[in-house]
Every structure is written in structure tokens, then in C-alpha cells.
Symmetry: C2
Subunit: 140 residues, 2 copies
DNA sequence: TATTGTTATACTCTATAACTATA
DNA sequence: TATAGTTATAGAGTATAACAATA
């Protein structure tokens, strides 16, 4: 097998393990990984995000963001507010419940990642992060 | 952000890029990445695979394999045959078209992976493969 | 009783296209 | 006319549960 394709297979495998583990940790919290990821983006943002901005950060199309935010709003974790600066924009603001839930989500995420990557020494984790950063931060 | 969760984010991002690139390469061939992956497993196997065995190798449940194989069979790339050794088992055999198509699929896969990982030197690619192997080959 | 595969169903993640409201 | 978001729809990938056929 070509060197590159083997790498592809490994990324696939590790990603699979990650989703499985994270999903299990997340299950009791009643959220999907995608919802948790969106909640994180919303909370981590300095200023309230618009739908389009969340789409950009999640690297998905605006229509797909609508579904994710619907779920978060229905769960009472975020609210949609009309942007005072332009009525066609929606601002996403977190509720106290959303922020509380996110603390649990972050802990679940930490546990899942630690479980998976603890086979590596801290130095190896650094190396891995370095290499993946190069791949993930190239244009395109 | 914790070291581990940052790693999780990077694996997610690289996986996303990989699926996107591979999907684009694969589009003209009329196959999804999942179908291509299954076809590869079937062809790479020494002896004809049973459905359960394919499920194990793809790390998905047997029910999910049924759908993938349905698609491959409908496209004329594989055939289901009754196992002479046990009538409740199904053997998966490739057609000449399946094997020809796989050559194209493999080339598409090679191009997608090369495009993504060519920002790394060959030595870095080795390193990355080493590290990911450790993570992916742990039990669980 | 255990194994193999399937029917039926559903959830997550994501997309394109067409439309509405606003700018 | 361009932008922000939504309704409608679809497809890929995966799962659980119940069941039939076979062993």
C-alpha cells in the first residue's frame, strides 16, 4: 500500500475511535458530538456569533447550522436573538444552562481524548500535534 | 485548551479534509468513500469474505454492511454467493468490473492522500504514521 | 440454542436548491 | 441585486431491534 493511503487509513481509524469514545461520554448529557462542538464554538467566541460565522468556523454550510442550532435551542442551551445592527442577522447567545452544560461537555471531551491518546508519552503527543497542525493548517 | 482535546480537534480537521478530497476524487467514479473502502477490503482479502468478516474489518455492524454490499452489487462490482460450506453464510466475490473499478478507486485515493499529506516531508510522514499506529492499534 | 444475514426503522452529519426577509 | 437564514429534500454512514433461515 502506498505510504499516503496508509496514513489515510490511520486517520480514519483514529477518528473513528475518537467519535465512538466521545459519543459514549456524551450520551448521558443528551448531546451529539456535532451539537457539543457547536456549543463550544459559540461559548468560546469573544462576541456573539452570527449563523454565518458559526458555519464558517464549523466548516459546514449555513443550512446545516440551522439544524444544529435548532437542537441546541430546543434543549435550552442557546438562544437566537435578532442582531440590533441588522435585522436579517441572528446572534447566538448562550443561556446559563448552556454554559453549565458546556462544563460537563468539556470534561467528557477531555476524558475521551485522554483515554485515546494516553498510550502516547507527552512528548509523542506534542509531536503528533505538531504534525497534524501542519496538515490541518494548509490552505484548501 | 487541554493538550488532548486539541489533538482531538486536529484529528477531526484532518479527517474532514481527507473525506472531502477523497469524495471529490471519487465522485466521477460513482462511488462513495464507504463503498470504495468496502470494495478494497473485499479485493484485498486472500479468500472470499463473509458478510460478518467484512463487518469486522470495517468495524461496523452486520446490518450496515448489508447496505454497502447492496450498493456494490447493484453497481455490478461484487456478487453475493452462498457459501458451499454453510448455507447461512454469504461469500462476497468481485466481478471483473469490480476489480477494474478498484484500480481507479485506488488511484483516486492515492491522489487525495498525496494532496493532503505532501506538506510533510517523507520523514515526517513516517513519524506521523508511527504515532497514529500506536493510537490506532491499542485494544478497544 | 447460537450464528448469519436481513427487514424495518432511526439518528447524525452534511449537502444543494429554492425561497423569504432584509439591506 | 446581494446577504442571512430558512423550508424542503436528499444521501452517506451508522446504529438497535426483531426476525428467518440455518447450523
Amino acid at each position: 500500500m502506498a505510504v499516503e493511503t496508509e496514513l489515510a487509513e490511520l486517520v480514519h481509524g483514529v477518528g473513528h475511535r475518537l467519535r465512538r469514545g466521545y459519543g459514549e461520554q456524551l450520551g448521558p448529557l443528551g448531546m451529539s458530538p456535532g451539537q457539543a462542538r457547536a456549543l463550544r464554538m459559540i461559548i468560546d467566541s469573544e462576541s456573539p456569533l452570527k449563523m454565518v460565522q458559526l458555519a464558517e468556523r464549523l466548516k459546514i454550510v449555513p443550512r446545516s447550522v440551522t439544524s444544529v442550532v435548532d437542537a441546541l435551542e430546543e434543549a435550552g442551551l442557546v438562544r437566537r436573538e435578532v442582531d440590533p445592527a441588522s435585522r436579517r442577522s441572528t446572534l447566538l447567545v448562550t443561556t446559563p444552562e448552556g454554559r453549565a452544560r458546556y462544563e460537563q461537555v468539556r470534561e467528557a471531551r477531555r476524558r475521551a481524548a485522554e483515554e485515546l491518546f494516553s498510550v502516547l508519552t507527552p512528548e509523542q503527543q506534542d509531536q503528533l500535534r505538531e504534525l497534524l497542525s501542519v496538515v490541518d493548517r494548509q490552505p484548501g
